[in-house]
Symmetry: D2
Subunit: 206 residues, 4 copies
């Protein structure tokens, strides 16, 4: 039986529109690019997506997606990383941002999102996975949990919620729970800083 | 024999970097998006790219890529379009931009690029395909060829070159060759318009 | 008698806020700049404003403000300018913009504003001064009146209104009334042009 | 003897070009604005500048410019402000920014600039005035000097230099010298934060 298929250009274009930060016009440009490309490029893209799906898996410890070994990801498997520190981040992207800065040598846990202020819903966040993992991490020497969320209302609301979740088990193990420091970010002028940032900069002077 | 494959995340990420307007960071975000997505989404993307490759073909008349029938594209097959007008555009994207404006009812020819001022190279431009097609178009009633290129140095250089190419055959058939009008674009203030635009606006007053 | 004066910083700051494009913060920076400046700079500013007020006058022909001779401004007094062309502009700034482009050699008339779409009020516009001046300009050889307004709704509404005003006298003298050409402005890409601009570019092709 | 004066429009325009953040085009718009304005507005501006020059003076304690009383400025005269804290700022503008944030209740000292990295020159900075004032401030209870400079290389270089200057007298009186806290400023996303800011945010976590 023959099925009338939708226009493949339209179909692929609306798929690209689901990509983060991509609007209809750029989605169309992507399709135009693939149309003009050689079959080899399209083949490479299909293969790349297939490989991604088959070889990548979620690290059972930090929950981020990585490729290669089926067990722990490269960071969680690295014995040189400090097991005393655990940075809880919102997304794989934020984890990678911290890695790029070469300033953090502890472990990670990817929460999988932030609390949305609109819906206040927390489903999807790996809160129970986080708390469950803490006993084992305590045995491995965990001392401080750093809530490394963005400096915005969603990040703040998520930090409050995570602190509540961690309170009982934190008491048992004596974890310290901290949040990232606020203040002037590099390049900030006092004249253009908002009052909250100036307040943090004053409070956190040193 | 087993081949050590590169990290699929890196591989796919550098592939997305080749997409128009995409830098390393957004390429990584695309991969992260696909990692978080369900297998169904990745399957849809692979299928979409495969279908694009198999079902899309180049219209033999306007040279743009479209999907569906193997013959003429929807525009070239539309008998209600004016065969007296031929807009020569740089890219499929510019063709689509003119279509979106709903102001042009003639035919198209996609040149496949512009002359690069750096290299002045014209290989890749479908100049011979354009001139070859003109006898047949003359029989179909073609009277005016509109060079619809962007208002920048590359567009201007391409228009000069195409006019040269069209001169002999244009003389035979008596085609008019025109370029898009220059002047104030919507929203322009005189104070912020460049001298060239003001000159065009004065020259083309009416 | 002693008068309690308001804070001179506040007073001057709120005066600068009336300057075109200046908000409270930049107004304050201006005052800080004058505070830090030497008395000579402040003196220069006062003298400059005083001189402006005393020596500048409005040209009785084009109605723009200029300095120097009490009679015609430099442009209106220039016998090498084409008396056959009259550009009607909204403001002195638009007149200066056309002069900077070195593409116009006719005469000017400054209307003194545009019709506001919100209020549709035309008081303040020198419509009667314009029509009154036309008999004399006709004697001097005027043939075409160019409505050189910005390419926005206010400019368009003003052009319609001015055409209505000019219709009776225009018929008598046989003036042509034109508006600035619309189309692609320098640097425009087709993909990012709005439909109106593309329509004008097609309509005004040549 | 009669001196041919320059065009008052040009003269005033080039004066406005010296204003902070003002280029030739906006300077011209300012002059056009004053030309169109009533004589009363021009008079107000002249009076405002004159008053500024005559009534404003520099506070002998914080060195900022203010108006009204000949003695201390309103902040330095306010007995409710904490004499234990002294914020050293670069400019009057930065002082006002801290005041607008309503987060600081101590005293101020305006240094009058930052060290320029290009020239490394410090002339113009009120370094000796600052150190000289500290004995008296010590008697008034000063305990901490906050170097409230912008988070950029000039601000950092200035902080280093001021710390050197303060070292001898600081030791005598036991002052603490602090700088504003660095970290995520309000609204910061981890993904777009620079490595220095992430490092500060981690170092200053709490």
């Amino acid at each position: 039986m023959w099925r009338m298929s939708a226009d493949p250009i339209e179909k692929l274009s609306s798929l690209f529109e689901r990509f983060p930060g991509i609007g209809p016009r750029q989605a169309q440009r992507f399709v135009q690019f693939l149309l003009r490309s050689s079959p080899a490029i399209r083949r490479e893209l299909m293969d790349g997506v297939r490989e991604l799906g088959s070889s990548v898996h979620q690290c059972p410890e930090c929950m981020r997606y990585s490729a290669g070994n089926k067990g722990l990801c490269a960071i969680c498997a690295d014995n040189n990383r400090d097991t005393g520190l655990l940075a809880v981040v919102s997304s794989d992207g934020d984890l990678l941002a911290l890695e790029r800065s070469h300033t953090y040598r502890g472990r990670y846990f990817v929460l999988g999102g932030l609390i949305s202020l609109a819906s206040d819903k927390i489903n999807g966040l790996r809160l129970s996975e986080l708390t469950t993992s803490l006993s084992q991490r305590a045995d491995a020497g965990l001392q401080e949990i750093i809530l490394a969320f963005p400096a915005n209302p969603e990040g703040d609301a998520t930090a409050i919620r995570v602190r509540e979740e961690l309170a009982p088990i934190g008491l048992i193990h004596g974890f310290k729970v901290s949040t990232l420091g606020r203040g002037l970010s590099t390049g900030s002028e006092l004249e253009y800083a908002d009052p909250d940032t100036l307040k943090s900069a004053l409070d956190n002077r040193k």
